[in-house]
């Protein structure tokens, strides 16, 4: 097994979806390849589910240095989280940007002005 093959099946391997025979080449590759071993170790430090909870804090720069490093490390080895982070960040910025495209304010209707002034004067 080479690294590309390992990466293709990495998610199923880590989710333990493989049969013992299917696992064997992965175990063997991890034992001999430091790069892929580091993928396994890094993904154990933070799961995709955990990472998703930190998205806003990460993008707001509110994570402490250790957590931020773990987050970055995970994104570096996980194409799923890399894409999710990117699309989430875009969602955030489009959501804020969409405010400017809301229906622009109109003048207050005259009857409403009258009603408010009248209500103020009546106790």
């Amino acid at each position: 097994m080479n690294c590309a093959e390992f990466k293709t099946g990495c998610k199923e391997y880590l989710e333990e979806l493989f049969s013992p025979e299917e696992r064997r080449p992965y175990d063997a590759h991890v034992a001999e390849c430091p790069d892929c071993r580091s993928i396994v170790e890094k993904s154990a430090r933070m799961s995709c589910r955990e990472l998703a909870e930190f998205l806003d804090d990460y993008l707001d720069g509110a994570l402490d240095a250790d957590l931020r490093a773990t987050f970055d490390e995970h994104v570096g080895i996980c194409p799923d989280c890399e894409e999710y982070l990117r699309s989430y960040e875009l969602t955030r910025s489009l959501s804020a940007e969409s405010a400017a495209h809301d229906t622009p304010p109109e003048d207050v209707p005259e009857p409403l002005i009258e009603a408010i002034l009248k209500a103020r004067e009546s106790p």
Binding site: E15, T91, S98, T103
Partner: protein, 202 residues
Amino acid sequence: MGRPASPTAHEAALVERLRAGDRAAFEGLIRAYGGKLLAVARRILRDDDEAEDAVQDAFLSAFRSLDGFRGQSELGTWLHRIAINAALMKLRARNRRPEAEIDDLLPQFMERGHHAVSPARWADPPEDDLARAEICRAVRAKIDELPENYRIPLILRDIEGLTTAEVAEQLGTTINAAKIRVHRARQALRTLLNPRLAEDAP
């Protein structure tokens, strides 16, 4: 929706006239800020009549609490917060519908925490102003598709520009609860936008 800043001399003079009960000053205030507040109330309530009622409530409550306006924020910011509050009061007074859950719109994970479905690659958003405006309008429409208990926190945070602490205060929740609501709402919005923004989208 600027952050608090010290009010201008013009504002200070206006507030003095309002405190003195000057009718023209009240009318001037309504004309100056009423349109903006009406837009805020319409965004929250999505009903023109209710929005007008909320704006009336907001001004009356502002007039009553003029003594409480210490110039700690700009007049516009202060009124903006009061209008949000009045609109939310109207919203709460409606027949309470059960709070909707949005689990179907949140990312799904496998047992050991990997994404159950690999997130699609999103295309870069268009730089072109017209295309960008069109996407923003679509985003805005999708926000309004969210269930009320997620739509409101997101509107307050992203459209009205409140801080998370201010959202929490308006909703009467803890800061952490407000933060989670906004986060879930954004995740759900991402799911709603996915068909349009995924690179292999038709």
